[in-house]
Structures are given as structure tokens and as C-alpha cells.
Symmetry: D3
């Protein structure tokens, strides 16, 4: 497989997790790592053999240094990361148990080096050189007006230069005032993108589309081809998740090459919920590069996502061999 070069633009955040099932009140210890939606997509693709570079900005202090070091452990190149500004976004994670849900508490992310960075700092010629694809996520579209501007500018420039543009809608209600505020920005990104991860909820609420279907799966199958056509997208993909007490159910949907395909529904216990959507996006991008069929793509992408629920940390760390072995085999206890 020739090496493909993939870029992602997005924030790097510090995750501070209370170990075990204790709360912040009960503990004195935190485990930390660094993640972000773009980081996670690249981490997954890096294990699939891609050359991956993150476009972001980190403070020029010891926290920023620690983040840089951590990103390299994921296999990402940090050569394109700007340094400067003062802070980085952080979130505290208290793990839920059984019927008790996990709790996330953010620090003031809007003052972060990334969220305060300006379009002028990003040198398009340097950043977009020698790359095949660039990935964006709806969170970047939401955080601050200047980052929103950078997203659209980078996407437009990338498209102009012939890179494939990938966009994961990833709508976070708390970061927007209303769906109306988000609508034009999402439509802009969909029109620039070649590959898009979207849910039936996004179509209904953000795009304000209608469907006669009431079943979520049927809504997905109704919307994806229409979205592909409306925005001239090569690939449109999404997942439906159901949460039960003894694990999650996950099913994937991909429309590409004019064909709609869906995966089987997996039921599985969950170690890490965060980053599983990014693993799906990475799987879809891999299917696209490998010229897989829509069925092959959705099968692989959902498997990569399910598998990512079982590994520690937000960022996917399984390589192709590991995922494929799992897809092919029945359950294996111990690999000696």
C-alpha cells in the first residue's frame, strides 16, 4: 500500500480522568492524556499505515510540550502544529458505573491557544503541501468565530488544491445558540466536502430536512443518498447507537459509489465511549482510499468503531491486522 498523507485540523485537549469509579470529590489522583476529534481520526489512520499530520495550535509551555510528546506516541507528526498563545482546553472526566452516567467538566476552552488562533497564522502553502486528504469536525466549527473562519478557509483552499475534504458533522448543541446559527456553516462545509459523517438527527435539526420515515434506520437510509446528491458528496456515512445497561448497540450506514449499505448491529460492552465516532470516520476514510465497496466500507468502519470502544483512551490504537483478525475470527480468549 503506498503511503497516503492525511491532515486533520482540530483542537488538542487535555483529558483529566478520575481513576476507578470515584468522583472528583472522592479522589486525589487523575490520569491524563491528550485528545481531540482530529487527533483521534489521525491516530486511527496512523495505525492503518497513513502518514498523519495535525494542524492545530498549542501553548509554548510545559503543557503544550507534554501534548506534543503524547501526540507522537499516537504516531502523529507534530511538524505542522503552531506554538504560542497561553492555554490549552481541558476536561475532567468522572467515569459512570451502571445506571450512573459519566460526567464531563470543561475548563475555559475558549481562551485556548487553538480557539484564540487567527486565520493569518495558518500558512496554506506549508500546511496543505504533499497531502491527499484533510479532515474537519463540527466541533471546530462551533468553538469560536475565528476558528470557524479558519475551518472554512482551510477547507476551501484544500478543495482548490485538489485534496479530498472530509467533514464529520459532530454537532454539539451546547456550543451553538441555535440550530439556525449552525445551519449556514454546516451547509457551507457540506458543499466543500467530499466525504461526510452525518446522522439523521443532523439532517432533521441542522439542515431542517424532512422525511416521512419515523424509524431511525429508515431515516438514515432515506437521507444519506439525498445528502450525497444535494451536496455532491462521494461518501456519506453515519451510525445509529442504542445504549442499554449491559452495553451498546451500534450499526453503521454508508452511501458511496451510488450504493447504500449498512452493517450488522453489534452489541458489546464499553470501556471507552469517547473517540468511537472518530474511529468510524477513520474507517470510512480508509474505505475511500482503498476503493472498497460501500458494504466493505461500512463493515470495516463499524468494526473499527466497535473495537475502539474496547481500548483505553479516546484515540483509536488498533492496527489493520488487529481489526481484521477480529472481524474474521470468532471470539478469542487469549492470543499467545
Amino acid at each position: 500500500m503506498p503511503v497516503r498523507s492525511v491532515l486533520a485540523f482540530g483542537e488538542v485537549m487535555m483529558r483529566l480522568e478520575v481513576p476507578g469509579y470515584a468522583t472528583l470529590e472522592q479522589s486525589r489522583t487523575l490520569h491524563y492524556l491528550f485528545s481531540g476529534s482530529g487527533v483521534n481520526v489521525l491516530s486511527g489512520l496512523s495505525r492503518f499505515g497513513y502518514s498523519t499530520r495535525l494542524i492545530s495550535k498549542l501553548p509554548a509551555n510545559r503543557l503544550g510540550d507534554a501534548a506534543m510528546t503524547y501526540l507522537r506516541t499516537l504516531g502523529l507528526s507534530t511538524a505542522l502544529i503552531l506554538r504560542g498563545g497561553e492555554y490549552m482546553g481541558m476536561y475532567f472526566l468522572e467515569q459512570g458505573f451502571g445506571v450512573r452516567s459519566s460526567k464531563v467538566t470543561y475548563t475555559n476552552r475558549k481562551e485556548s491557544s487553538f480557539c484564540q488562533s487567527q486565520l493569518e497564522e495558518y500558512e496554506m502553502d506549508v500546511l496543505l503541501a504533499d497531502a491527499n486528504l484533510i479532515h474537519f469536525c463540527g466541533i471546530s466549527l462551533a468553538v469560536t468565530p475565528n476558528v470557524r473562519r479558519i475551518v472554512v478557509a482551510l477547507a476551501a483552499e484544500a478543495k482548490k488544491r485538489g485534496l479530498t475534504v472530509s467533514f464529520d458533522c459532530n454537532f454539539r448543541p451546547k456550543l451553538w445558540d441555535s440550530y439556525e446559527e449552525a445551519k449556514p456553516w454546516y451547509e457551507k462545509m457540506l458543499s466543500l466536502a467530499d466525504i461526510c459523517m452525518i446522522s439523521e438527527q443532523d439532517a432533521i435539526h441542522i439542515l431542517n430536512w424532512e422525511t416521512e420515515e419515523t424509524d431511525r434506520e429508515k431515516q438514515m437510509q432515506d437521507f444519506l443518498p439525498k445528502i450525497s446528491e444535494a451536496f455532491n458528496l462521494s461518501v456519506v456515512a453515519g451510525t445509529i447507537r442504542e445504549v442499554a445497561q449491559d452495553g451498546h448497540f451500534l450499526k453503521g450506514f454508508v452511501f458511496m459509489n451510488g450504493e447504500m449499505a449498512c452493517s450488522k448491529s453489534y452489541h458489546f460492552p464499553v470501556l471507552e465511549r469517547i473517540g468511537a465516532g472518530d474511529a468510524f470516520a477513520g474507517g470510512v476514510i480508509h474505505g475511500f482510499f482503498e476503493k472498497m465497496s460501500s458494504q466493505e466500507t461500512v463493515d470495516f468502519a463499524v468494526a473499527a468503531s466497535v473495537y475502539a470502544h474496547t481500548t483505553y483512551g479516546d484515540s483509536p490504537v488498533a492496527d489493520l491486522k488487529e481489526i481484521e483478525a477480529w472481524m474474521e475470527s470468532s471470539y478469542r480468549e487469549i492470543e499467545r
Copy 2:
């Protein structure tokens, strides 16, 4: 909600837990905290906004100091805790896994400052001032003759002064020689109490009552109104628990305001079993203060108890908002 002032009388014990699923033989490390039935009831009520003060006795040494500090983290006032004597009760906890049950090993509790404390040390005027309710538990009734005497004296004096008296039967067979030994003391406490937590087993074995029902749930529904009448209790409540390999089943029963009510049966995985009964008691007391109906009370109290199974430590730490959000909503993965 005006602040209500609640007292509890009971022992503070040190819990020393082997981390993970190792045994005392296999580990070199213990996690410790401080708990007790009264502590747990107050911890839950403290999160519901009550002013809570524990009546107990702790040694005037560094272990006692550490216990005092820990109790404050739970939101309890330690102003009424006597200091003196020499020791505190301890128990070692080895967590079970799957079919293997947890093991508890006690140190010599009977020599503890609390268990050796004398009625004369407790100044009624100081302890019972400015309080609305005082809670007792059957364990205190069992540990030593002098503590048994203190329980009854405090309850009688509290009743005389117009406090609501709450009593959780909490029968521990190992601490009594026979049911016959326990019977008069339990009857005494029931006659002094306004609120009582009791099980159908307690009615049959301790009170030596009979019922034609053979089903546990029906026995509960048969006994609770009769107990309320016999002992002139405002509230009588209890739970039935079934233990299965993949979690527990819990159902609550409350008779108050002349109405019998029962909750739905919850099925859920368990992080911490100890203290869940105290969370139920706290929920019942809250229902009483809030003038809830028997149905509202049992629904809230069982929810508080189920939720307490999912948090670390013996003592309930969820506030009203957290419990109510869980009661109202379906399952939520992550709260961001």
C-alpha cells in the same frame, strides 16, 4: 426548602479495602475510608440540603482525627462527636468477583471508644438542641449493653423533646445471641419511633409475628400497615433484594399516610453494596420531611438506594439534582 436539622447516633468505623479483586494475602495495599450506618444516612441527607450532625465517640488520636476529617468531606458536622477512649472499630473488605462473594473481617470493635462509651458522657441538652429528627440503627442496639442503653435513652429523650425518631431495624444475627434477646429491645425502639425501616424477615423472626402469605412481597404488604398500627408509626418502609449474577433486583415498600405503595423492581449492576440500605432510609426520611405521598416516597427512596449502589464508598454522595435527573431521564451515557 428551609434547612432541616437531622441527627444520627451510631458508630464510625474504619473500612480498609483491598484494591481490585486481590485478597489480603495477595496485596500490599489498602484503600481506607470511614463509615457507619448513621454516617451513611446523614451523608445522603447532607447532599439533599439537610444540616446533619453525628452523635458518636471517637478516640483522641490520629485515627480519630482522620475520621473527623473524613466525615467533614461527607458534609457532616462533627461538633457533637465525643473524643476519648482508645480505639475505633475497623473492618477489612476483600471485594468479590462474579460468583465469589466479598469477605469482611472485623477487628475488635467492642473495645472501641464508641462501644465503650457510657450514657453519662452524652449531654442530652447539648446533643438534642435545635434538631428536627434523630436516626438510630439496629446495629447500635446490638454492639454492647452500654450502647444499647444509650440508644434507648436518647430515643426516649428525643421523643419527649418532640423530635421525630427514625429507626432502621438492620438486624445483624452475629451480634445477638438469639432473636429472643433482641425482641424486647426492638419492640422498645419501635414504640419510640415515628419512622421505621423493617423487613418481612424482621417481623417474622424478631417480632415473632405470623402471616399467611408465603411470597416475600405479599408478606411486606401484609406486615407494614400492621406494624404501623401496632407501634403507632407514621412511616414504615422496607426493601426486598434479590441477588443475581449479573446484578441485583431491588423493590421498595412504604406505608405512610394510611397508604401502602411499592416501587417498580430495578435490575442493575452493583459497584458498592454496603450503605445502600442507609441511602433508602435517607430517602424515606426526605419523603417524610417533604410531605410526599407514599408512592412518591418509595419511588424516591428506592431510586436513591439504587443510585447509591453505583457510587464509590459506603456513604451516599448523590445530591437531589443528580438522583432526580436520573429518575426522570432514560439512560444517559455522558453528561457534558
Copy 3:
């Protein structure tokens, strides 16, 4: 019960386990202990009150010292362990989660003190004195030609001296070039043994036997009596395991005293998979010593094995009282 003296011959390996569900890449910390098939069988029997001595060889360095110390915590006598050579075998264990399987990575075991030890170092008169039984395992038969030679020589000499010989087939495909290579050695050991743990797969693949049955359980019931007869074995036993996402299924089979018996099928969550087969072997040996019936033996041995899945570490650590209490009782939450 008079003390019985049991020997086992086998390698001691160092297990280095990544804590939690992280991978070797993600962690900086390992938990270690020392185990081995022979170690595990003796650990179980030691808790049943047997005098247990391991025959093995460990390097005369600080790792060997640490292993010696650890073995004593399991209740094994280390008096018969040779010291010398340079290395000990190690394996790294990364715990799986849900659909992700555990991963084991070995270091170069073949250079270990044990695998390089020579027959001449083992003084039969010293090693086999005052013993009732000696246990071997198919792994020792596989590791190196010299250890293979020691196994057969020890077994033959033990048989000559009147010790009961126990052999667990424990076939590891990766350690043999082919089934054909293994066949004569396994046949040799079966002919020397009195007690044998074997699976229907071993009979088909190693012994190259045939059966008309297609169901695994029926194959077991078909093979065990035939193996007993063919090799003149007093006891032939085996288990069938099925792996499901929410736990394992385990069922045991024992042919002894001319009677075939099988246990009920247990379904249970798993904390530790490694060493559970050794716990079964220990249970069978105990049944043999206790002159249990085949039904009693299989019931006890499977219970010991199921229970061993719930305790930390490879080596069984439950005593008779604990296993029997579990067999007799229904599920108990907490033992106070």
C-alpha cells in the same frame, strides 16, 4: 485428613501484566507474579492441605530469588528447586476487554535455566523421596528436547517407585512442529500416567483417534473410557469451555472407577482465565486422593476451576472451605 505429599515438575515463569485495560504502549507500569502449570496445580492442592514441592530450576540471581519467595506465598516448598543457569522465562500480558482478546508476548523462554537444565542435574533419590504423587504437564513435554527427556525419565522413575503419576495433556500447538512430532511423546506419558487430563481435541489430533460423534460433549463421553482402557489409567478427565461475550461456559467430565460422570454447565464472568485448567487438575487429584466417586470428583473439580476464574493471579488460592461453601450455598453477597 492425613497430609499427602505431592510433587510437580514444571517451569516457573514471570508474568508481567499491564494493569487495567491499557496496552504495553500506553502504560508505564506492570504488575508481576510468578506462575507455571505445575506451580498452579500445587498452589491449589496446597490450599487443600497437601504438602507440595515443586521440581524445577531457577537462576541464581535476584529474579530467581524473587520467584522463590513468591512460590512460598502460594504455600509451595521450594526445597527441591535447583538454582543455576542464567535466565527465567517471562511473558507479558495485556488484558482484553469485551470483544478485544488478551495478548500474551513471550521472551526467549528456551534459554531459561529450566529449559536448559539437564537430566543429570535431577537426583531421583532426593526428588522422589517421601512423595505420593507427581504431576506433569504437556508444556514441559514441548519446550526443549532435554526437558522432554527429563519429563519421561522422572515419570518412569516415579512409576517404578510407586508414586501416582498425573499428566495434563495441555497441548500448545505453537510449541510443536506438528501433531506427529508430539504423538509418541504423549503416548509415552499416557502409558506412564495413572491420572490424565485430556480433551476430545487432543484425542482426535494428537492421538489421531476417531469417533462417530460430532457433538463435543458426546465425543468426550466416547473418548474418556476408551483412553482409560487403552492406557490403563485410573482417572481420565477433561472440560469443555465455550466463550461468550458475557462470560464463559464450563462443563467437566471424569471417568474413574469405571464410571463416567459430568458436571452441570456453569456460566460465569471471568477475572482470570490462565490457571483455571490447573485448578481443575488439582480438583481431580483431590477427588482421587479422597476416594470420591466420579460424580463427586467432577463436581468438585469443576467448582474449583470455576472459582479459580474469579481470583486474581494464575494460581488457585481458594481453600476447601471456601469452595465447598460456594458449592453448597446459593449466591452470597458479603460474608461478614
Copy 4:
């Protein structure tokens, strides 16, 4: 000793410390606690038997809850702490070793609930009721203009109501643009204060005073009485610290009751540097309340400060008995 009621106004920050001597790059784990200059002074006084209440503001989220709980472990009343705003200040601490210095990295403190709080939120009648003394620190004077305004308003109102006002100059160069900017605010606070902790450097740089002395100790002895006179202060105190590779040297100076006194010079190894100045301030305040002589005060305050270097965490946790025992005795190995 009658209970004295002491207030302090100041920020609560979260301290996140890399365990051992690793850097943020090298670790995955942090230990956290909550501290602040006012917190530390009150923590020390709380152990001396004072009633202590912190005036501050914390976010109404889970981090704020955790801080509230932690403050109670220190013995502080949290009844006067405002809740609201969004964030709390944090700092990361990497411990130095030998010749390598410790590193502190701050997050954006200026957006904290405290630093963004407004004078109008502080209800003087509630906050200053039933108190004997209120303590301020120069850091609060520096962080934001609105906090600076609150400091002066609270101090003036406290003085008017007859509370003793205590002020620790605690100048942090990075938080001010210049000494000139700081001068009028410091002079204002000195004129409002009754007790002041100041260094000879502060006198020279902030107050812009001159002295003919070149030796630091002599400068101290020259300045303290003059400062007392100039600002009509009852107590003026300070310390001189020298840092050597094998520990620190600390000497204290107090002018009160018209008398100048200095302690002996202690030389000692250091576990925790942060908070030791606050321990000194607490010691001075205790000397003032106890009507000690200037010599007694400085001896006690320096002992409290030296001892605080040996306990874990920023906040002093030694009680009077522990400090006095150490002052009286020679070195003791183990107290059984």
C-alpha cells in the same frame, strides 16, 4: 482558650502535581488538591483551634464541589463561599530534584469565578458578622482590577466594623506591570492593616524606601519598626530565606509591642515550599491573639513555618501540640 473567629479573603486554586520527580511529558498521573494563600492561613489557624471561614467564589460545577469538600478537610467553614461563574484557577506542579528547580504552569486564572467576581456580590453584613480578624494577601491585590477593588472595600469595611485587618504583602512580580503600579494599592492596604507580613525587598521595591544597611537581616531590623510607625501597624513581621542544595535556611523577624525580635536561623530539608509563608502569617496572627511577646511570636511563627515545610500539601496541617512538642524537644525519631 475562647474560640476566635478568623476570616480570609482569597482565591482557591486547584493544584495538579506530577508524582515523584517526573515531568508532565513523562507521567500519566497527577495528584490534586486545592489551596490558596487565604486557604493556607486559615488551615493553619484552624488547627490552632480558631473558627475559620473563607470568603471566596467557586464555580457551581463538580470542580467547585470538589474544592468545597477539600476545604472542609482542612477545617475551614465554606459557608461564606459564593458559588457561580464558570471556572477555577489551576496550576500544574512538577517537583524539582537537587539542582533542578520545580516548575509551575498556570491555566487561565483570570477567567476564574473568583477573579471575575464583582464587589456587588459580596454582602458585607453577612460576611463580616461575628468575626475578630480578616486576612488578605498581595496576590488578591494583583490578579484583576475587580478583585483589587473588593480587597480594599472589604478591608475598609472590616476596619470600620472593628475587625483586626491582617495583610501579607506577598508580592508576585509577574502579576504586576511595574512596582509603580503596585505602590498605591500596597500603601492603601498597609494603612488599613493592623498586622502586616512584609520583606525588606518589598520595602525597597514597592514602597520605594531606602536604607543604609546592605545586609538583609539588618535591612529587616531597620525597616520593620519604621513600617509599623509609618502605617500605624500593631505587628510587622517577615522572614529571610536562603536556599542551599541540602535544605533551606529560615529566620524570622517580628516588631510588635514596640519591640523588635528575631528567631534563630533554622536549617532544614524541604518537602513542600509552597504555603510556608502562610504558615508564618498564621503563627504571627496566633501570637497576636495570644498576646505573646514579640520574641515568643517570632519563635512560634518561624517554628510553624519550618514545620509546614515538612508536611504534604500547601496548607499547614500541624496543631499546636505538634508544633510546641517539636519546639520543646530535641529531634525525635518515632513517636509511639
Copy 5:
């Protein structure tokens, strides 16, 4: 060296240590192990190649089991340990730092299985068979009247059977009402002993002897020969320790074979203070068995004691090779 068989009589206690330099209030974690004066002496001798058996009593519960397992890691035989009674003694250890001393808090030791054990439980014929020496310690003489009786009875019986009797005075003031109470019991033990560890303070305070010397070292040199003569002791030994901030000073004294000898004075940093006296006692016993001169004995015993200050845990764990290598060599950084 032929194997020598050594016995010790003494209590096994559980040590629960707060990790790092935190206090019981500040931590949530404890490290535990099991020790005791007799345990420590045997642990040291076990590493020197002696066969060691402890005579003690432990409860027949999971704590007792854990203690048994731990003792085996030290190389002790647990075959002579009685099981029964209910409790074991425990102590909590908070490590000091620099000028802050360590704190030890005991639980109620007097109710322990050991302290409640009766002379009748100890079968002399079994316990004293096949042994060369038995060691006692002054702590056993102090804890309870029945243990005191056992000590003297065992010592007398051992002497009668020809075992060498070793006694370490180890006076703990808190366990006696007065020196007068202790005097007859100490004189009794000295008259039964062949080897004795004693300090000049013991001679002055317990034995009520006088000396014209004022210097501690000279007092030692004055007393030891006189004690040897007065009580007909083969070996009398002791140490003088001075505690400084940057480490301890230790010097040893031995009178045997009619010769007085003293070691050089070592100055060294201290990891573990507890058990270092027991390491000295073990060294003296080894010198006695090896028929070393008094100079060789004191040099070896002090080296063993100094070295024991540098290893984790109360019990000495260094073998002869390690101690001798250190005695012979100058300081070595790393042994590869």
C-alpha cells in the same frame, strides 16, 4: 555451614503505613506488611542460612492467613504458629520528614490472639524440639501477664533442654507502669539467658545499677562485662545511636569470650528505623554461632544493622553475601 535451627517467641503485628509523607488525614491509601521483634530477628537469620521457626499465635481468620503468607516470604517456617483467638495487633505508621518525626498509632493489641494466649496452649515438646537457640524480646515481657508467664516458662524449659537462650531487653516504657515493676522480670530473663542485648540505659533504669562514667560509650564499656559476670552470660551486646538531621550515627559494643570490642561509628541516611535493633541481635547471634571473636561479631552485627536501615520494611532482608560485600568494598553505585 551446617544448618542451625533458631526459634523466636513473639507477637506478629500488622503494620499499616501511609505512603509518601502524607498523614492519615491526607491519604486514602495504606501499605501493609507484618512484623514483630521476633519476626525480624528470624528474618535476618533466615537470610544467613538458618532454619527459622516462629512461636506465636495468630487469629484463624483472613488477616491471620495473610500474616502467615507474609511470614513465609521472609523465609520463616510458620509450622509452630498457633491459630485461634480473634484479633491481631496493628499499628499505623505515618512517616516523618526532616525535622518532623514519624508517628505510630496502635490498635488494641492487648486483645490480640497472641496477647490473650495461655501458657497451656504451648506444647513444649513440640515447640522446642530440634532447635539450637530461642530468642525472646522485652516487649513480650511487657504486653500482658499471661504472655509474660509464657516467656519465662519457655525460656526456663529451653534452658533445661540445652538450647541457647537469647534475650533482647528492648524496654518500652509505655508498656510498663514503672521500672520497679519490670526489674524482677528482666532479672529473671537475664539469669536464664546466654546472649543478651542491653543498653546502658537499661542497666541504669531497669537493673538500677550505678556507674561513675558519664559518657554513654564508657558506660557501655563499663556495664557489659559486669552484666556478663553478674548473670553468667556468654555474650552481652548493645548499640548507641545518635540522631542527626542528615542521618543517624550508630556504634556497637560486644562483650564475649572475655573480650570487650566496639565497632567504628557509622553515619548514614535512614530509610527504615524499625527493626534495625533486631538486625543487630541477629548479627550477634550469627557471630555466636560462627564462633567469631568479639571484634568480628560487633563489626558484623553493626554492619547488618546499618544495612537494615536501608531496606524497605521492618524485617532485615539482606543475605550474608550482600552484607559482607558491602563491608569489604567501598561505596558502589550500581551492581551490574
Copy 6:
């Protein structure tokens, strides 16, 4: 500063360290990382802004993957690392305390992927392209005959291609049969090198040179210029270390540009001894690239080495700014 590209050839080993001061017998936990002499030199240079690539071989398994990931955290490119073979070398480290020395126990390194790698696997054109300097170490010269061959072949080819060749003698007696065996190989490497780290002991024992000086420092000053001349080396450097109980003494010596220079003698406490020599080598290489004088070079290189004693892990992690700040400033407590 233009980026310089530096290569190093050497083994990557796994270091497994017992935390705290416990021994392998006493602990259950290890901390691990990956290091090696070449790794360490490159780690230091990477922080100085150099592009660094390691030439080595790692097994294609999960341990090898973990090592690759770790090397990236140090800033090394892993692009030139061969994958294959089966094992990697490991060593266990037990930290000493005070007078007790650290202990290192190796596993069988000779079977490692690196030690078994063959010259033919190393493609000179790929490995040596675009590089300015290549570093070797005497340990590689010692481990196996085939690695020895690779060292010399790579050095010769590098020299031919115009790279600067750096060689650290780093003689390990245990890896050679005799000095005579080592002599020709060391002479060969010295003749190929441009920069050499050597000690006066190496000159005397390996090269078999003589000197009239008896003082170590004078021997250094005598030998370095002569070595430079004899082998036509641009830079010859070395250090003299003295070990004392309260820290080490270190002094550096550099002969370059025809000038002999030595640093001041540092005295400092030690956190990590391993890798400090590699930090010195990195400092010398940096001085060479920066065209520093011999005095500037030795001052910087010794400072880098002293500083490396204070950071966790074998590999230097301080950047230029941190080292230079320390060189310029006096001791600083906390950097805020």
C-alpha cells in the same frame, strides 16, 4: 541554528524498575521504559533541536511496538529501525538507598533482535543518507561478534561518506573476556572516529598506555592530547566521577582545537545515574557542532550531564533553555 541530522547505532533495551526502594522480592509492581546508550545520546540532542534517527533492530511484536512508541516520546525518529527477530534485551533495576547500592539484573540480551542482527540487513545507502554525524558506543562493540562487525562497517562507511564519527569507549568489563580481546577493536574505532569519549582507565587498561602521573585528573590531562594526536581525533573528552554518600562529584575534561580544558567540579545529589555519561557525550557533540571552544564545550557538556542526574529516566530530557538557565543562574526554588 540550522537543523543538524545525527544518527546513532545501538541497542534499545527495556528497563523494568522496582518503584521506591523495595526489592524484586518485596514488590509486585514495576515501572518500565526503554533506553540504550545511543537512545540517550539522541534524546539529549533531540532536545537541543537536532534531527535524530536511531539505527537499531527491534522485534516485530508488541514489546517492539511499545519501544518504538516510547522512542518517539523522546523525539527520536524511528524510521531507520529494522523490525524482526524475536526478542529485546531487558534489565531489572532495584534502586539502592544510602549505603546500599542499586542492583541490575539482565535477561538474555544476546538473543535479542539487535544482538542477532546481521550486517547484510543494514542498507548503508538508506541509513547514512542526509546525516552529519553518527555515534557509536563501546557496548555495541562488546555484545556479539556480528554487532561488532556492524559497528566497524558502519563507522568505516560513514567516514568514507564524510560523516563525523563519534565514539564513546564505555568499556564494560563483564562483556569482554579480557582487555586484550578488546584492544584491537577499540583501536580500530578510535582510528575511524573524529570525536571520542574516553577515560584515563580506558587508556591504561584497554590501550595499554602508560603515564607517570598518579593522580586521576592529571592522567586525564596527560592522555587526552596524546590520544587526539595518536588517532587523529578532533575532540577527545572524558569525566572523572567520585561517589560520596551525600551525592556525586563530577568534573569534565575536553581536548579540542589544540586546547585542553576542564570544568569545575560539581557536587550534587543523584536521582538517576544511568545515562548521565550519554548526556555528557551529547553535550560534547553539541559543542563540536556549535564550534564552541574547548572550555565552552566542557562547561556545557558537564552541565548537561549533571542536570541529567536530576531527571527521571535514563534518557536526558532537558532542552538548551533549561540547561543554560541553570548554568547562568544561582539555585532557584520554584519557577512560576
